[in-house]
């Protein structure tokens, strides 16, 4: 069992090899050690040599060549299966002389632990090999988990937040223009979209009555009364919106646009509206035909939109183009 310990390791980080003495004798071993070429002190490093496929290699790094009492590099190769036994034997062999061991962190096998204490008793050496080799690497992970685990409320909170984030993500795909990273703005986007869809249902149910007149009376205010007005009611929500918009437009164009956009509406120039209605089939959509009768429309998207006449402004929902014009 002696010779196997000192056979040169296959570790990639250590280019040095030990001459393997036949016998596992204290002095012989030490002499053999120090008779070989002195290890550079920079060898003491923490990098993890890649584990070989079959064997885990642990290597001791050279710390100080000067002191005879310090064993440095003992590369181990696990050619035989019972390496643990060999390791323990090694420890038992060295502990008698109370030699300082400097074990670097074992990467692949995690067998050795790097300790800076000059003396290592055998018991601690053998016990620390198994468990502590892994703790320095994963201590922060364990800590975090334990910190959260002790508080059931925080776990519940975390779960809840994760669930909400997950659903928010799925909602993001549904809503158009859902590329907002901010949760609050995403929520606003969702709300606006739901409002818009509900408004679409309302508008479509209006149009289903099969009367361009009724639709136009709903969506356009006409001071001149040039359209047939079957509804008989003069105060619709649309008209109030238009009043409000007209008032806002007198003060500040931006706030008017914002108000409209908050409602999911926009204005468009009448030329554009007429182009839309004439480009596509004229009477396919009663909404579009009603637009023709409308007064003035402005669009926030086009840069130059002259305000022609504020009084007869009409508002249409243009958030989703397919609703008004033909898809």
């Amino acid at each position: 069992m002696n010779s196997s310990l000192l056979t040169p390791s296959s570790s990639s980080s250590s280019p040095h090899h030990l001459q393997s003495p036949a016998t596992f004798d204290h002095d012989d071993f030490l002499q053999n050690f120090f008779s070989s070429a002195p290890w550079p002190s920079s060898v003491l490093e923490d990098d993890a040599p890649p584990p070989t496929s079959d064997t885990a290699v642990a290597s001791f790094h050279h710390h100080d060549v000067d002191s005879r009492n310090q064993i440095t590099m003992i590369p181990l190769s696990h050619h035989n299966p019972n390496d643990a036994v060999d390791v323990n034997a090694l420890y038992s062999g060295f502990s008698a002389g109370s030699l300082p061991f400097h074990f670097p962190q074992g990467s692949g096998g995690g067998v050795m632990k790097q300790s800076h204490t000059p003396t290592q008793s055998q018991a601690t050496a053998s016990t620390t090999t198994g468990g502590t080799a892994t703790t320095p690497q994963t201590k922060p992970k364990v800590r975090a988990r334990r910190g959260q685990a002790t508080d059931p409320h925080s776990i519940a909170e975390r779960l809840r937040r994760e669930r909400i984030a997950e659903r928010m993500k799925s909602l993001q795909e549904l809503v158009p223009n859902g590329n907002k990273t901010d949760k609050a703005s995403m929520l606003d986007e969702i709300i606006d979209y739901v409002k818009f869809l509900q408004l679409q249902v309302k508008v479509l149910s209006m149009s289903r009555l099969g009367g361009a007149a009724s639709v136009s009376s709903q969506i356009s205010e006409d001071a001149c009364g040039s359209q047939e007005n079957t509804s008989g009611e003069n105060q619709t929500a649309a008209k109030m919106t238009e009043h409000q918009v007209a008032k806002l437009m007198e003060e500040d164009m931006g706030s008017a646009m914002q108000y409209l956009q908050g409602k999911g509406l926009c204005l468009m120039p009448i030329s554009l509206a007429t182009t839309i209605s004439t480009a596509t089939c004229p009477s396919r959509n009663p909404l579009v035909s009603a637009v023709k009768e409308a007064g003035v429309l402005l669009s926030p998207n086009t840069a130059t939109t002259p305000v022609v006449d504020v009084k007869g402004a009409s508002v249409i929902t243009v958030k989703d183009a397919s609703s008004v014009s033909k898809p």
Binding site: R167, L187, I190, V201, K202, Q218, G232, R284, P286, K326
Partner: protein, 153 residues
């Protein structure tokens, strides 16, 4: 407490299911002769059709399996002075109440929009919103197709 999250199911039936339900409700309306022009203003007609649209959408989307559709149907039935019968109800009241108090403020506007949204957890609210959006868009498509089909003369 649930350790793993079950996969959310927001599947929505095909368009023809929605179309079927909507047409059925429209024909019901017609049969009831609700569109007599003398006693009806346009707005009432609009309201009736809108309500029919929503109710048919709720029925098509799963009836009482979804919280929002259940609330919608209940609201509609209340207006008609009818009683809605539920097949099953989940009993997670205490847990709901506890988490409800913590943040119903969070998505308040959304809750106001969604039928039955005031009584849900936020995560449940999001789920219901996703399903609601899907159903709404399906219903809009159906109605749009109807409008296009009928007005192409």
């Amino acid at each position: 407490m649930a350790s793993a999250d079950k996969p959310i199911n927001t599947d929505v039936p095909e368009k023809d299911v929605f179309a079927l339900h909507f047409l059925q409700s429209l024909s019901n309306l017609r049969r009831q002769n609700a569109f007599n022009s003398p006693d009806d203003t346009t707005n009432n007609r609009v309201k009736k059709i809108k309500k029919a649209a929503y109710v048919s959408m709720a029925r098509a989307a799963g009836g009482t399996n979804r919280l929002w559709s259940r609330a919608l149907l209940r609201r509609a039935a209340k207006e008609n002075n009818k009683v809605v019968i539920f097949s099953r109800r989940k009993k997670r009241v205490t847990w709901l109440r506890r988490s409800n108090r913590r943040d119903p403020v969070d998505a308040e506007r959304l809750r106001n929009l969604l039928p039955g949204g005031g009584a849900m957890e936020t995560s449940k609210l999001m789920e219901e919103t996703a399903h609601y959006i899907k159903c709404l868009s399906m219903q809009v498509k159906v109605m749009q197709c109807l409008v296009d089909g009928l007005s192409a003369k």
